[in-house]
Symmetry: T
Subunit: 145 residues, 12 copies
Amino acid sequence: MTERFLVVNGPNLNLLGKREPEVYGSTTLAEIEELVSQRATQLGVGVDFAQYNGEGELIDALHSADSNHAGVILNPGAYTHYSYALADAIAAISVPVVEVHLSNIHGREHFRRRSVTARSAAGVVAGFGSLGYVLALEALASRFS
Amino acid sequence: MTERFLVVNGPNLNLLGKREPEVYGSTTLAEIEELVSQRATQLGVGVDFAQYNGEGELIDALHSADSNHAGVILNPGAYTHYSYALADAIAAISVPVVEVHLSNIHGREHFRRRSVTARSAAGVVAGFGSLGYVLALEALASRFS
Amino acid sequence: MTERFLVVNGPNLNLLGKREPEVYGSTTLAEIEELVSQRATQLGVGVDFAQYNGEGELIDALHSADSNHAGVILNPGAYTHYSYALADAIAAISVPVVEVHLSNIHGREHFRRRSVTARSAAGVVAGFGSLGYVLALEALASRFS
Amino acid sequence: MTERFLVVNGPNLNLLGKREPEVYGSTTLAEIEELVSQRATQLGVGVDFAQYNGEGELIDALHSADSNHAGVILNPGAYTHYSYALADAIAAISVPVVEVHLSNIHGREHFRRRSVTARSAAGVVAGFGSLGYVLALEALASRFS
Amino acid sequence: MTERFLVVNGPNLNLLGKREPEVYGSTTLAEIEELVSQRATQLGVGVDFAQYNGEGELIDALHSADSNHAGVILNPGAYTHYSYALADAIAAISVPVVEVHLSNIHGREHFRRRSVTARSAAGVVAGFGSLGYVLALEALASRFS
Amino acid sequence: MTERFLVVNGPNLNLLGKREPEVYGSTTLAEIEELVSQRATQLGVGVDFAQYNGEGELIDALHSADSNHAGVILNPGAYTHYSYALADAIAAISVPVVEVHLSNIHGREHFRRRSVTARSAAGVVAGFGSLGYVLALEALASRFS
Amino acid sequence: MTERFLVVNGPNLNLLGKREPEVYGSTTLAEIEELVSQRATQLGVGVDFAQYNGEGELIDALHSADSNHAGVILNPGAYTHYSYALADAIAAISVPVVEVHLSNIHGREHFRRRSVTARSAAGVVAGFGSLGYVLALEALASRFS
Amino acid sequence: MTERFLVVNGPNLNLLGKREPEVYGSTTLAEIEELVSQRATQLGVGVDFAQYNGEGELIDALHSADSNHAGVILNPGAYTHYSYALADAIAAISVPVVEVHLSNIHGREHFRRRSVTARSAAGVVAGFGSLGYVLALEALASRFS
Amino acid sequence: MTERFLVVNGPNLNLLGKREPEVYGSTTLAEIEELVSQRATQLGVGVDFAQYNGEGELIDALHSADSNHAGVILNPGAYTHYSYALADAIAAISVPVVEVHLSNIHGREHFRRRSVTARSAAGVVAGFGSLGYVLALEALASRFS
Amino acid sequence: MTERFLVVNGPNLNLLGKREPEVYGSTTLAEIEELVSQRATQLGVGVDFAQYNGEGELIDALHSADSNHAGVILNPGAYTHYSYALADAIAAISVPVVEVHLSNIHGREHFRRRSVTARSAAGVVAGFGSLGYVLALEALASRFS
Amino acid sequence: MTERFLVVNGPNLNLLGKREPEVYGSTTLAEIEELVSQRATQLGVGVDFAQYNGEGELIDALHSADSNHAGVILNPGAYTHYSYALADAIAAISVPVVEVHLSNIHGREHFRRRSVTARSAAGVVAGFGSLGYVLALEALASRFS
Amino acid sequence: MTERFLVVNGPNLNLLGKREPEVYGSTTLAEIEELVSQRATQLGVGVDFAQYNGEGELIDALHSADSNHAGVILNPGAYTHYSYALADAIAAISVPVVEVHLSNIHGREHFRRRSVTARSAAGVVAGFGSLGYVLALEALASRFS
């Protein structure tokens, strides 16, 4: 049986490719999801995708993934920096959550250098653009190989 | 006429009993609500229950309680520590809000020791597990006896 | 063709006139919207109104305004002080956003003196009560005259 | 055999009813103790009362309670905010200590929002005036019922 | 009788149009004053203008305006961020003072995000360039219409 | 009838004249008390003297002075910098308390520049050595002349 | 030969009696100067008076007093809290400077609790209203008796 | 003539062996005192022992030791971290004071890493359990050999 | 021609497998290097390995890699948290540097949550144990495919 | 044509040689100006001198130098540490400003280690006494050689 | 078989006796090592000595001691205050490390009061000059007696 | 006999001219050394040059210079901001050390504005590029002329 993973993106990431392209690049979220799908096929695993701007919806998605997925790839967007509720959700579920950031948060504005959500994550990948999601998928998949 | 109170729980509390039981115990939210219901019957008051993961929904619930309930028992979960919007909602309504925490927040990680929502609350009960909800109900009920 | 602007209010502002009137005055949100409508008519521009308690809904509204409006007047309520996600949404869209506060946030409690959302705003108007929305409308309209 | 609990109040609480009544109310310490005694009778438990202005005396009282009482209700007064020695005493004894505050410390001056003594307490009740002592007694008594 | 208002600019604003035009624009102070004069004529109010680099002179000007003007439009320049003496002067006089900033101070260097003078101001307008002075004039004039 | 004042000194002040004379001078506490007595006689008021090293004893002394004296001159010694319990005692009593420091605390080590007890005091005199007690007595006596 | 002292007041103190009387009282600066003059006559010393809103003028006055007066009584107003230049002037001159505050700065807003000018002062008197100037004069005069 | 030293322990150290043995070990205070006595005999010096929970009593003990002992071994317990009064007492007396901690305070909770009392001590020994008292005695004794 | 990458480990990483295995796992550095070598062979790229405890040696290695390698995988060990010199070296060279951490630094002690070296890195991978080096290699290799 | 430079000194520097000579040396300002004049003659450039205690006057001087001088040597005295207005003036003018300090500000009191004015300066010379002004002149002159 | 211990000194300690003798005394490092050797002979244990100015060399020495010595006496010099790499080395090895400081670091400049290396040490001895090394040796030796 | 000075550069300065030329310029370290040599010849003094990336080597160089040179010109690179060990080395030697920075550190990133090494330096020259080394040499040479 193949493992299924959830790739969930947080606030404003639906605007990828359009939003501040000098920071976040010109790749759209759909293109990233296509890239991840292709790699998933190579790895023989399944992937589902979701994107929410609301903190509550993201928490709901994590809770739901606990029953339906073998792991989560999460880009919490700006919630990274203050959402203890999202951090609690990551800690509350049993499946591993890998946190991904498109840009290298350590080299940006001061408030972006801190991740409160990463405290409960299994690992973090930051600064590799869309490739980061692929690396995260490999990290999750390697747990089941 | 009997008074009715709203017991509303915040993010991740729907996972009670399953989430980090070494911190939050093995009692489920349903069991807590049953416990509160029993005590409400003894006290001759009514109780309604709700749980939301979203900040906006919790604010909506508080606004609505202002017309429909005589008081609110609120466990804001992780929003306790940063949701000034929730704190404003508590201040904005006229009925008293009692804040409850299952664990003793003063003895946990640094960020959990601060409650921004409690600023506007009528009182706080923390560290008594599910019994805290019962104590909060007694405190509210005593205002009408 | 006339320009249309979106006036969007954040958490607890639906309670205006009722909530802490000694701080926020006795004017209701409907009365403010009426005042803005009248001025819009004088200026020959259109206005739409919205109010949300949820952070995600406010972000959605800003995203949507990017296609449908020539500018946004935003009172982020308490999200002003911690919602980096809302700040990112303001930065992510192309139309100008003017931040309005009813009270003078610089003269209130310590945490209210900081605006994280204003970082990406076109400008800020604070302390003039409902008149602030009208001034913000004039500022936006002047961009198209 | 009935359980006995110690209710011990810290600095300046002997002046209750007289000291800043707009903050602490007009109830005297004797009246609070009478209220607690009545509830103790209903619950079938015993209570002893003490009040000290000195940090050392409060520590002595906690040490002594470890042998003579089944639990302690402690209002540390201003020591709440800086007495690590009292916090150590709470941690050093085996019987549970419930911390009580008449006012809601989270809504007062900045330095009063922090409790260093609560770190080692079993739980905290704050903001309910004299009722808080009764709630604390119930919480302690429920451990033996 | 027409109301008269004082428009007073602080340190370095005499260099407007020449000083860091990428931040402050190429409009000169004389051009701003002309713009405000035109709007004053439309509104049927009087305006006087002044500019000082010294903290003491600005305080003197505010004291003097208390007897001679119905309100003050003040751009405190860099004194915004540390002059408690100027803040005291604003609080000491009876006529309303509206604080204006050409740039959006919330989006600039860290020390520029804090306004100590705004604490005592009637309101703040920031980020609209020279238009900000006009909006401030309207806000003041509306008090007398 | 003549007014009586209490002059109470805190920890380590019994060692005056011996302890770090380069900071505190070579005058002994007995000599200071003699100086104050002489001035009291001139002013036609009475004075009592006390010195305690314990925080609890100082609080007791303040409580007792509330019934027996018309005012208190207090040198809280090192408790100045952290004893919120002593600060509460000053606030709790009705008679005025004047805080005296032998040295100019603003010019010493960082932690000595802050006085938490002075928050509730009627006034503060610092830096004049033993003369400070005399000035404090005059300030108190002037309230009754 | 009689000693002469300079009494110099800083920014906004010319408005005494009119400015925020609930904080600073209704006594005018002229009345305070009259009070000090009377006491000077009793003590057989001379006094000169000055008031400046500018930091530079206050520094000039202190420099000049070094040659012309035997000591200075200085109320630095809001400069107390940030003027290191004034602090340097106090340290630079040889005659003693006594710092006076009408209100008890330790019990006011956070930024007012710190005095950077007091570091170099001979002593500080705060919280006694106009009487504070008289006490300061006595302290200075006692150096020459 | 043999030198005599005072070994004085602060708050909660009377509970040693019983209090949090995983941190402080199972050795009782009596056993530590016995160990020190034996070593004192070997070294040919005398030792006296005391333990107080009160800050005032500890200060009294230090004052008294100044006349009666050649040095002091002090474990200030939790007062280590905030008692400036105790620090002043150590500075006020002439005989050397060696501060001892059973546990390595640098490796514990954040607030325990700071010693305000050690500022005035002759030296500090931490982390060696009961052996620390013996090392401190040797250090003191070596001054007289 | 195949690309060659440098894998360089910082202080104490030579002890991997032996040092605090509950934090860092039981895999040795040699085993990690073997793992990376195998993956390099699959990817058709070359890898060199180095480990230094000294800050200067690590800087030398980065400088040298600028001429000899197409990219660097760097685990700076504890230098991550304070070595601005190493951060400058990363910024000074032209080839990309990927920072790797075995553990999830965001979930560890406070000082470990900050990376000063990551500011200049191309990206960061943390929390995946030895797999992290492999992911970093893929990220570097993908730049040349 | 020879270049002319302005050497301008800030508050209290008129007292040089007299003011705290153990910190600032016994050289007077006139002697420094003489030293600079001699070196200017050697270098074939002109120098003008000014000294002001007021912040506004210093800003005026910098503005004026923009038209009349080829560069400025500025010792801002204590304004170094808090005058953002002076910093803005340095940034606002086109001619280079070299900041000079007689003492090594990095080795003095904490508040003196920060220079807010230096942010906009061309360079800084500190710790060489009067020689510093000469070095600054050489640095400026070298721009025109 | 006798135990061997390593005594290793950090940066600048090779200059002992010459470097700031008013702080560090006039004893040279060779004299300290002689003192320790004599005591080692008395105790029947062996000692080796080393001194390095480099952080990497000190880490190497600790690693090497893990195989060759039964314990380490380490004076990390200024690395005490910021070398997390050295702290990690102490934690990484199995033999106990006792940290020694010649001076009482708690009574010196602010940055010297914090020891990051002591977190992982077995214990700390500070303030006893060269005697501190002897006490540390006794503490280590007592583990094997 | 001519004086000899040591010019020693710290980490990454060997890459000058290549490393971030927009910040550090395109002059190489060899060119700077040539410039200094020429000026040394004019001044009739000798110069030696060194550059190290390691903290320990820089400390060694300073120690060695104490015997072999009449003064040191030191650019500590990034060690400026955190190397207390280097600061101690500067304080430990008798010959004067002048700290040089190519860029104006006060106008760069926050962490670069603080120099811990400058505390012990004789003086600091910053912001003049390679000319700074020449000015430093003149300052040192002037001590022997």
